[in-house]
C-alpha cells in the first residue's frame, strides 16, 4: 500500500509558528503604534508580491520583469472604480483582482509568443505601454497623477485610527488569503505539475502535462493577485501617478531581489527574503542609490553562490520545510 | 611494446553518481589501430570522452606522449595532438563543409594535413565544399568529420562509432581511407559497434562490459566465442 506523506517535523513546527504569528499579527492594532502598523502593512504587501512573483518565475518558469504593469493597473482601477464607479474602496480592491486577470488574457496571448529572456523584456514593454497609456488619461491625472478624494477615504471608516486598522487587517487578510491559495495550489496536482515544470520543463511536457495551459493560468492568477495588491498599495498611499504606479524599482527590482535572496522556487523563500529586505532597509535607512547598488550586488552574489537563496541553502542542508508541501511516497508492508 | 603513445592507467569515471568506468586501462602505440568494442552503455564513449578532455576521470591517470593529460581541458588536449571524431559526426550546422574543415585547424598544429590534402583524401568533399554541412549524406558527413579532425594534425585520432548509420559499402571505403591515414603515422582508437569491421581494421582489441575491460588481445588471436562472452557478459 502506498500513500503520499506531506508533513515533516519541521513543517509541523512551521505550521504552529505560522498560526501563532498570524494571531499575534492580527492583534497588532492592540500592541503596535501607527508607524509600526504602516510598516507591517507594507511588509505584507511586499511579501505577497514576492510570493506571487515566485509562483510565476520559480514554479512556472515565467520570469517577468513587468509585474509593475499589474500593480499600477490595480492602483488605477481603484481610483477609477471609486471615483467614477461609486464603488466602495474595499470592494474596488476585491474587484481589481479579477479585472486585472481579465486584462492579462490578451497580454498573455501576445507575450507568450516570446521565450525566456525575450519574454522577460516583453513583459517590461507591456508595463511601459500601461504607463504611457496612464499618462494619457487626463481624467485620472495624466502625467502628474491624482489624489484619492476625501469622501472616498472617509467611506472606508469615519475615524483615522479605524481606517488604519481596517487597512492593516485588509493587508494581513489579503496576504493570508494569497498565501493560503498558493499553498492549496501547490498541494494540489496542479502544484505537482508546477513542481515538475520547475524541475524540468521538457520532461514535464513529455510526461503529459499541458505546460502551455498551466503557464497561462498561472500568469492570469498572478496578474489577478498582483492587481489586487496593487490597489491595496495605492489605497495606502492615497495618491497615484504613472511613475509611481509602474515603477520598475519598487514593484519589480525590490520584489525580485527579495525572492532571489530568500529563495526562488520555495514558498518560504519570499518570507525570508522580505524579512531580510526590511531589516536591511530599516537599519540602512536613507542611503538612496547606494542601497540599490548593494541590493544588486547581494542579488548577484546570491545567484552565483547560493542560487537557491538563503532559505534554499538551509532547507536543502537540513531538509526543512515550514509548510507541509513535500511529497514523500511511503510504501508500507501492510496488505 | 615500447613507450606507448597514449596510456590510460586504471581510470574511474562518473556521471554524477553513476559509475561509468571502473579501473579501465588501455594503451596505444605509435602507428597502431586499437578497437574498443562493447554493447550500448558499456562505457566506450565515456572512455573516449575522458581521453579527449571533455570529461575528467575521478581516479587514475591518462598519459599522452608521457605527459599527464587527465585534468587537461579539451581545447588543450587537441593542441597536444589528440583529435576526436565525435559520435554522430556532429558537424557544425551553421558552417559550410569547408568552414567545418577550417575550424578543425583552430588548434594550429603544424603538420601535413591541409585543406588540399583532406580534399585529396575525400574528393567528394571538395565538390561540396561550400554547401552547408547538413546538406551532406551520412557517409559524406562522416568523411567531413574525419577530415575536420585531421586538420588538427593529430598524432592520435579518436573515432567514436563512425560506422553508425552507414551502409557497409561506404563504411568499407571510409575504413580504407583510415588505413591510408594510419600508414602516414597517425594512431587510431576506434570505438565500434560493428565488430567485424573493428577486428578487420585493428591490431589490438579491448572489449568493455559495464564499465570494465572484459577482454583484450590481438585481433588476430581472439575467437568469436571469447568476444561474445566478453561482449554480453556471459
Amino acid at each position: 500500500m502506498t500513500r503520499v506523506e506531506h508533513a515533516t517535523t519541521s513543517s509541523r513546527i512551521g505550521l504552529i509558528l505560522i498560526v501563532l504569528a498570524t494571531l499575534v499579527l492580527a492583534a497588532a492594532p492592540a500592541w503596535a503604534d501607527r508607524l509600526t502598523l504602516r510598516l507591517l502593512a507594507e511588509v505584507f504587501t511586499f511579501l505577497t508580491l514576492a510570493s506571487l512573483w515566485n509562483l510565476l518565475a520559480g514554479y512556472a518558469g515565467l520570469v517577468s520583469v513587468g509585474q509593475q504593469a499589474y500593480v499600477g493597473l490595480g492602483g488605477y482601477l481603484l481610483f477609477a472604480l471609486t471615483t467614477f464607479g461609486g464603488v466602495h474602496p474595499i470592494a474596488a480592491i476585491l474587484l481589481a483582482g479579477p479585472l486585472a486577470a481579465l486584462v492579462s488574457i490578451p497580454v498573455a496571448s501576445l507575450i507568450f509568443r516570446l521565450r525566456g529572456a525575450y519574454f522577460a523584456i516583453g513583459t517590461w514593454v507591456v508595463a511601459e505601454v500601461f504607463r504611457l497609456l496612464a499618462s494619457q488619461l487626463s481624467a485620472l491625472g495624466g502625467g502628474s497623477g491624482i489624489s484619492l478624494p476625501a469622501p472616498i477615504i472617509l467611506a472606508i471608516a469615519p475615524t483615522r485610527s479605524l481606517r488604519e486598522f481596517e487597512i492593516y487587517w485588509l493587508a494581513l487578510g489579503l496576504t493570508v488569503i494569497v498565501l493560503a491559495a498558493l499553498f492549496i495550489l501547490l498541494r494540489s496536482r496542479h502544484g505537482l505539475a508546477l513542481t515538475a515544470i520547475r524541475d524540468n520543463e521538457v520532461a514535464a511536457q513529455s510526461g503529459g502535462i499541458d505546460v502551455g495551459r498551466l503557464k497561462f493560468v498561472v500568469y492570469l492568477l498572478t496578474a489577478g493577485g498582483t492587481g489586487m495588491i496593487g490597489s491595496l498599495i495605492f489605497l495606502m498611499k492615497l495618491r497615484i501617478s504613472p511613475d509611481t504606479a509602474f515603477s520598475v524599482n519598487d514593484w519589480t527590482a525590490f520584489v525580485i531581489f527579495i525572492t532571489v535572496i530568500g529563495g526562488v522556487g520555495r514558498i518560504e523563500g519570499p518570507v525570508v527574503g522580505t524579512v531580510i529586505f526590511f531589516v536591511l532597509r530599516q537599519t540602512l535607512a536613507d542611503l538612496g542609490s547606494m542601497y540599490l547598488i548593494m541590493m544588486g550586488a547581494v542579488a548577484i552574489g546570491v545567484m552565483l553562490w547560493a542560487p537557491k537563496g538563503l532559505w534554499g541553502l538551509v532547507a536543502e542542508r537540513y531538509g526543512w520545510q515550514a509548510l507541509p508541501l513535500q511529497r514523500k511516497l511511503v510504501i508500507s508492508a501492510e496488505t | 611494446m615500447s613507450e606507448p603513445l597514449l596510456e590510460v592507467d586504471s581510470i574511474d569515471a562518473f556521471y554524477g553518481d553513476f559509475h561509468a568506468l571502473a579501473g579501465v586501462s588501455l594503451r596505444v602505440g605509435a602507428g597502431q589501430v586499437v578497437a574498443v568494442i562493447g554493447a550500448n552503455g558499456a562505457g566506450k564513449s565515456t572512455l573516449l570522452r575522458s581521453m579527449s578532455g571533455l570529461m575528467h576521470p575521478r581516479r587514475g591517470a591518462i598519459r599522452f606522449e608521457g605527459a599527464n593529460i587527465s585534468r587537461m581541458p579539451a581545447f588543450d588536449v587537441v593542441k597536444a595532438g589528440v583529435a576526436m571524431v565525435p559520435e554522430g559526426r556532429r558537424l557544425f550546422p551553421s558552417l559550410s563543409v569547408e568552414e567545418n574543415l577550417l575550424i578543425g585547424a583552430q588548434s594550429r598544429r603544424a603538420g601535413p594535413w591541409t585543406l588540399t590534402r583532406v580534399y585529396e583524401l575525400f574528393p567528394v568533399l571538395a565538390e561540396r565544399r561550400h554547401l552547408p554541412a547538413t546538406a551532406l549524406s551520412g557517409g559524406q558527413q562522416q568523411m567531413a568529420a574525419i577530415g575536420r579532425a585531421l586538420m588538427a594534425n593529430p598524432t592520435l585520432l579518436l573515432c567514436d562509432e563512425i560506422s553508425l548509420g552507414l551502409a557497409p559499402i561506404i563504411l568499407r571505403e571510409i575504413y580504407a581511407r583510415l588505413s591510408e591515414i594510419v600508414r602516414e603515422g597517425i594512431s587510431v582508437i576506434a570505438v565500434e559497434q560493428d565488430i567485424v569491421q573493428a577486428l578487420r581494421a585493428a591490431s589490438y582489441v579491448y572489449c568493455l562490459q559495464e564499465g570494465r575491460v572484459a577482454l583484450q588481445g590481438r585481433a588476430a588471436q581472439l575467437t568469436r566465442a571469447d568476444i561474445s562472452a566478453a561482449y554480453f557478459g556471459v
Binding site: 542579488a299 | 581545447f75 557544425f92 575550424i103
Partner: protein, 289 residues
C-alpha cells in the same frame, strides 16, 4: 507632403541608432543565448565614458570614439569572463537576474557619480549642419553620419561573422559548445570576445546617443527596449533584419510624435505589439527564438 517625407526620413535615420542599440544584443543572443538586461545601461555607461573622456582630454566627441570603443570592448571581455560566464547554463534565471542586478547597479552607480542631471555632448558646427537631398527635403548631417555608421557597423559585423576565423569560432561555439572545444576553441575566451564585440558596438551607440540627445542615468532601460523591439520586429538572427526593425520602429515613433508628442513612444510599442501579434517570428527571421 514634404512634411511627412521629412518625418519619415527622420524616423529612418534614428532607426539606424536603434539598430546599433540592437546589434550588440542580437550578437550576444546568437552566440551564447544570453540576453543582457543591462545592455541599455551599458550604452548609457558608454555615453558617460565619452563625457569623461571629452571633458578630461578636451577632444571632440566623435574623436572620443577611438578611446571609448576599445575601453568598452575591454569592459565587455572582463565582464563576460569575470561574471557572466559563470551564469551560462541551462537555467535561464541566473543570467537574467545577474544582468538585471547589473542594470540596477550601473544605473545607480552612474547616479551616484554624475547625479541625475541631464547631459549632452557638443560636437560643434556639424550638429546644426544640414544636407539637402531633394527639393524641400533636408536632413541633419549628424543623423546622416550616424545612419551611415550604423550601416557600416552592421556590414562589418556581418563580414566578421561570416567571413572571418573569429566569426567561424562564434558560429561553431553557438552550434555546439562541446565539439567546439574539441576543435581547440576555449569557449570562455570565445564568449569573452563576443561580449567584447557587443560592447564595442555599444560604445559606438553610446557616443552617438550622447551627441544626439540629452542623457541621464535612468534612460538605459528604454534603450534596451528599443533595441529589443528592433530585434523582434526585424527577426531573430538577422542583422540586416535588425536594421529594418530599427527603421520601422524609428518611423513609427516619428509618425506617432507628429500626431501627438505624447504618442511618440506609445506608437513604437504598439507597432511592436502588432507585429508580435501578426508575425511573431519577425519580418526577416533566420533562427528560431
Amino acid at each position: 507632403m514634404t512634411v511627412w517625407l521629412n518625418i519619415i526620413l527622420q524616423g529612418v535615420l534614428i532607426g539606424g541608432l536603434y539598430a546599433m542599440f540592437a546589434a550588440g544584443l542580437s550578437l550576444i543572443f546568437g552566440v551564447m543565448r544570453l540576453v543582457n538586461i543591462a545592455h541599455g545601461d551599458l550604452i548609457v555607461l558608454a555615453a558617460y565614458l565619452a563625457l569623461v573622456v571629452t571633458q578630461t582630454i578636451g577632444i571632440d566627441p566623435l574623436v572620443s570614439l577611438l578611446l571609448v570603443v576599445p575601453l568598452m570592448a575591454l569592459i565587455g571581455y572582463a565582464l563576460q569572463r569575470g561574471l557572466l560566464n559563470f551564469t551560462l547554463g541551462d537555467d535561464i534565471l541566473p543570467p537574467l537576474l545577474v544582468t538585471f542586478g547589473l542594470s540596477i547597479i550601473i544605473q545607480n552607480g552612474l547616479l551616484e557619480l554624475f547625479t541625475a542631471d541631464s547631459r549632452k555632448l557638443i560636437t560643434g558646427p556639424i550638429e546644426v549642419q544640414t544636407v539637402q537631398i531633394a527639393e524641400g527635403i533636408w536632413i541633419g548631417a549628424l543623423p546622416l553620419i550616424q545612419f551611415l555608421v550604423a550601416i557600416a557597423v552592421i556590414a562589418g559585423l556581418q563580414t566578421l561573422f561570416y567571413k572571418s576565423a573569429l566569426g567561424r569560432a562564434f558560429r561553431a561555439t553557438s552550434d555546439d559548445q562541446s565539439v567546439a572545444q574539441l576543435m581547440g576553441l576555449d569557449t570562455r575566451h570565445v564568449f569573452g570576445m563576443a561580449m567584447a564585440l557587443s560592447l564595442a558596438v555599444v560604445g559606438v551607440a553610446g557616443v552617438f546617443l550622447a551627441i544626439r540627445a540629452n542623457f541621464d542615468p535612468a534612460i538605459g532601460p528604454a534603450r534596451l527596449i528599443f533595441g529589443f523591439e528592433a530585434v523582434i520586429i526585424g527577426g531573430l538572427g538577422s542583422l540586416w533584419g535588425t536594421l529594418a526593425g530599427g527603421v520601422i520602429l524609428g518611423v513609427s515613433q516619428a509618425i506617432g510624435a507628429q500626431i501627438d508628442p505624447g504618442w511618440q513612444l506609445l506608437a513604437g510599442h504598439l507597432v511592436f505589439l502588432a507585429i508580435l501579434a501578426v508575425r511573431p517570428e519577425g519580418l526577416f527571421p533566420k533562427v528560431a527564438g
